[in-house]
């Protein structure tokens, strides 16, 4: 095939990018080389629109062993233990083929983690669908949930937490973000940097097929009506092979044979070989005839661009080939020496004894395009004033029941019951709480993880929204008694070529950066997914934050279920009555304008740190952060989980009851304490200048405000638990 500008454009490259390639090579690339450039220079692999802004994120900290740039981030959890974790998107493929798209998303992120030598110990996910009324939503939801379960369950890694939302902005572009945590010894972490000359380059895992060719390019473009034709670009997952690959890799890693290892994810053999060479400042020579292929007559182009799953590239020490091969044979996996490291600093590919590609590595990596895209600043919207006549007819209990049954608040049990969340025998907090918690096997330590996003806040004001998501993650970890350590982010946005979408990206990233800097909650890994848009319609900006924290003694873990009748319930953090962009405003008043709640980083940090002190002093019986739906929704969930009631007394504020109960002011938590501890708790809160209200007392089985405003917990539980099951027809 003759390569020209049109062929390059068909590969998703811009005309000036093609000119740059010809210029860098000082010749016209052949088709294999063009394929390689298109794979390395697309948005998904090159981060060409986002790099400039991502640089501003805080990525360092005392506990950070490895920040962004490797397969995943690594943090120190003491005693020579480390946690490897990352979140990644698989949005585009999941919309086209929900089961395989979601499954391979889960498979890909687990591979990123065990590539570094860590055994995966927990999976999480953040999934977002269109309006429940949209004709595709139900099938997409079912397919994605089955896909996530299908892969994670087979791997034997528990899925411990997640987040699901519905919003019409995802009608044409769903989001599927998967996160994995792995456990590794600090002195046994593996990296992808090649080193040494003439070292064997080894291919292990599944055979290469024609699936997923140009998957990364597909994920770097918007959707249109021809989307169904993109099905062949979706990879097909084989969790069984991945389980074997995991065990085989960990077995090989126990010795000292491996110099560098990299999984073949987006852009397959192309990006894995080039990344290893680039990091090691070396060249790599590959004989493509040696690559194990699943199909006959595959061309160099297809072999290099296939995104077949469950494959790894390893650079071994000389002489370790037989030892390594024995391990992969035992696990029935392909093993092939396909090339070697060279000093050429080039990627040189041979096929049928001919050289089919010859590209300097730096042209693909350092010289890849970087854009300073135009972006538009989004002003803080003006506040709305709630009109008294709009709310005076509202009955609190009716509103509460509606909110508890809202698709974005309701119980997601139908989803997480399909995920094995107990395998490995260390899940001490299962899905449905503020964060999932797993014990570090055989120790008293536990790791908490949560994944959060607030698309509505980010859409209303990206800077505030970006900050808020980080704070929410911080709060969710603290609510289970964990000290927050670091985050991973999955930045889901529309087209970077659209100034407004780009503005949303830039300002969300700025907000994330400010909050993570202030909270000492650095970003150690992440992923950007642009072009979540169909024609001109982009999604609401949806940065998802995966937070990880440590509980030193798992017996001190906190859960959100109310524990004992007569205990006192407090709210910490001040309630100003911020209704704009709250679930109450949007769903009950149908008011979509106004600013999101303000984020005060000082209060976030101070309230969170103080709560950790209370927990350390064993003064807290249960805790839950206040988020969607405000105080009363948070309290209702604690009642439902604990099968207890609460008698609420509204504190003597100047704001009215509805504003007090449904406002979504930030930095707040609900706490349950024993009455006899009240003075101790109040002293600590006062000493640290943390505002608190006494909200009420726990009773047997009723949410009680006054004789006219009361409801049984059973009734609230039914409201909360039925929507999703009814929707899915079960």
């Amino acid at each position: 095939m003759i390569v020209n500008e049109q062929v390059a454009v068909d590969h998703g490259l811009k005309k000036d990018e093609y000119a740059k390639i010809c210029d860098l090579l000082k010749r016209t690339p052949n088709i294999t080389e063009l394929g390689i450039f298109s794979a390395m220079w697309n948005e998904h692999c090159s981060y060409k629109s986002s790099r400039l802004h991502l640089k501003k994120l805080p990525t360092k900290g005392k506990k950070v062993i490895q920040g962004p740039g490797e397969n995943a981030g690594v943090i120190d959890i003491e005693d020579n233990d480390a946690i490897v974790f990352k979140i990644e998107s698989h949005n585009h493929p999941s919309f086209i083929e929900p089961y395989q798209g979601a499954a391979t998303g889960v498979g890909g992120i687990m591979r990123d983690v065990f590539t570094m030598g860590a055994r995966p110990i927990a999976n999480l996910n953040s999934i977002h669908f269109g309006s429940p009324q949209h004709k595709k939503t139900k099938n997409l939801l079912r397919g994605v949930v089955h896909g996530i379960g299908g892969y994670g369950n087979c791997m034997g890694v528990p899925t411990i937490a997640g987040q699901t939302s519905f919003d019409s902005s995802y009608n044409g572009n769903i989001l599927v973000n998967a996160m994995t945590l792995g456990l590794v010894k600090k002195d046994k972490i593996f990296y992808s940097k090649a080193a040494g000359l003439n070292k064997p380059v080894i291919y292990v895992g599944s055979k290469t097929g024609r699936d997923g060719i140009h998957g990364a390019s597909m994920a770097s473009a918007s959707f249109d009506e021809k989307i169904e034709e993109k099905k062949p670009t979706v990879q097909v997952g084989d969790p069984f092979t991945e389980k074997l690959l995991l065990e085989a890799c960990l077995e090989l890693m126990a010795g000292d044979s491996i110099i560098a290892i990299q999984d073949m994810g987006a852009a397959g053999l192309t990006s894995s070989s080039i990344e290893m060479a680039s990091k090691g400042n070396l060249g790599i020579e590959i004989n493509l005839n040696k690559v194990p292929c699943r199909e006959t007559k595959m061309t160099p182009y297809e072999i290099m661009l296939s995104e077949s799953q469950e494959r790894m590239l390893i650079i071994l020490e000389n002489g370790k080939e037989d030892h390594a091969k024995k391990i992969f044979d035992k696990w029935n996996l392909d093993f092939a020496v396909i090339g070697k490291t060279t000093k050429s600093k080039k990627i040189e590919l041979y096929f049928d004894k001919e050289k089919v590609a010859d590209i300097p590595v730096n042209t693909l990596v350092e010289n890849s395009p970087m854009y300073d895209r135009k972006w538009k600043k989004i002003k803080l919207p003006k506040k709305n004033k709630i009109k008294k006549e709009d709310i005076k007819h509202l009955k609190i209990i009716d509103v509460l029941k509606k909110i508890l049954a809202n698709p974005n608040v309701c119980s997601k049990e139908w989803i997480w019951q399909q995920y094995d969340h107990t395998v490995m025998g260390d899940t001490i907090q299962k899905p449905g709480g503020d964060a999932g918690v797993v014990r570090v096997h055989g120790t008293d330590k536990a790791v908490a993880a949560s994944v959060d996003s607030s698309a509505v806040y980010c859409w209303a004001h990206p800077l505030t929204g970006g900050k808020q998501v980080v704070c929410e993650s911080f709060r969710n970890l603290i609510s289970v008694g964990a000290k927050p350590i670091a985050i991973t982010n999955c930045l889901n946005f529309g087209s970077p070529e659209n100034e407004e979408n780009m503005g949303e990206f830039v300002e969300c990233v700025q907000g994330i950066g400010e909050a993570s800097d202030y909270l000492k909650f650095p970003v150690v890994s992440g992923n950007v997914s642009f072009y979540n848009q169909t024609k001109d319609q982009g999604i609401k900006p949806t940065p998802a934050i995966g937070g990880v924290g440590l509980i030193k003694d798992y017996k001190n873990m906190i859960t959100m279920d109310f524990k004992e009748v007569d205990n006192l319930v407090l709210v910490i953090g001040k309630t100003e009555g911020h209704i704009d962009q709250s679930l109450f405003a949007r769903t009950i008043l149908d008011e979509k304008n106004g600013p999101p709640p303000e984020v005060n980083l000082f209060n976030e940090k101070n309230n969170g740190d103080t709560l950790l002190k209370l927990i350390d002093n064993k003064l807290i019986k249960s805790a839950h952060d206040v988020s969607l739906g405000g105080i009363i929704t948070a309290v209702a969930k604690m009642c439902i989980k604990g099968k207890k009631g609460i008698s609420i007394k509204k504190p003597k504020y100047l704001i009215n009851e509805i504003e007090y109960l449904f406002a979504e002011d930030q930095g707040r938590y609900i706490l349950e304490i024993n009455k006899k501890d009240f003075k101790k708790v109040a002293d600590i809160l006062n000493k640290n200048a943390v505002h608190f209200d006494e909200l009420g007392t726990i009773n047997e089985n009723e949410l009680y405000i006054n004789d006219k405003t009361k409801v049984t917990i059973d009734e609230l539980s039914t409201s909360n638990k039925s929507w999703l099951k009814d929707y899915m027809g079960k």
Binding site: H146, G149, G150, N153, C154, M155, G156, D238, P239, F240, T241, K243, L244, W331, N332, W416, Q417, Q418, Y419, D420, H421, T422, V423, M424, G425, D426, T427, I428, R439, Y554, K555, K730
Partner: protein
């Protein structure tokens, strides 16, 4: 007491079973599926997981593993063999216990705590368990037990049903059946009751911080019965 846990390609509850057996005093060995010889054992466990990816039919490939012939011989000579979840699926494929396991009624994987009623205590697995009802944990996609009418009659005549899904008070009703199994069957014996296949995972119920402790009752009792 010596136990052996078999690891097949795709087993993923083998470590959890190892942890549980050791916790309650077994000297456990992990045995690779491609080995021919079974180490001297008082109990052999086929653990849960997705042997061979469940790709052909759950358990069918694993039932043809090299180690299985010595396990079948061991069982036929009265040795104690317990299959949990995928292990149960492997047992039905070998024919050591009757019946088959179909996909769950709602075609969905289910992971949750369930209650099971002990149907028969005249065997080494459940003899001397004080409780009538145990809280166990299930995590499976194909746990819907099925057999022919003739088989069912034989199973019932021989008292081969080990446990049935029920509520916390031991009531066996359709609404407490998580997967559509005939007669709420959660576990079944061979005729001699030395082989037990069950869907629930007792090894996930050995710690109050996790799902609960009724698995501890089961294992403590089991090792005492084997002594």
């Amino acid at each position: 007491m010596k136990s052996s846990v078999i690891t097949f390609p795709g087993s993923n509850c083998d470590r959890d079973m190892d942890v549980a057996l050791k916790k309650f005093g077994f000297k456990n060995k992990m045995v690779w599926h491609a080995d021919a010889e079974l180490p001297k054992s008082d109990l052999v466990v086929l653990p849960g997981g997705f042997s061979y990816g469940d790709y052909l039919r759950c358990g069918s490939m694993a039932s043809k593993s090299k180690i299985m012939q010595s396990i079948i011989n061991f069982a036929n000579s009265g040795g104690m063999v317990m299959g949990i979840c995928n292990g149960f699926q492997i047992l039905v494929e070998t024919g050591l216990v009757p019946g088959v396991l179909l996909r769950n009624k709602y075609l969905e994987f289910i992971c949750k705590n369930v209650f099971v009623k002990i149907n028969d205590k005249k065997n080494k697995y459940f003899k001397n368990v004080d409780n009538e009802v145990l809280e166990f944990h299930i995590a499976h996609n194909e746990g819907n037990y099925f057999c022919t009418d003739d088989q069912l009659k034989e199973i019932e005549d021989n008292n081969q049903i080990a446990i049935n899904y029920c509520d916390e008070n031991g009531k066996i009703e359709d609404q407490f059946n998580p997967n559509g199994s005939i007669k709420n069957i959660a576990g079944i014996f061979n005729r001699e009751k030395n082989v037990l296949g069950m869907m629930p995972h007792p090894e996930r119920m050995i710690d109050a911080s996790l799902s609960g402790e009724d698995g501890s009752l089961f294992f403590k009792n089991l090792i005492n019965n084997l002594k």
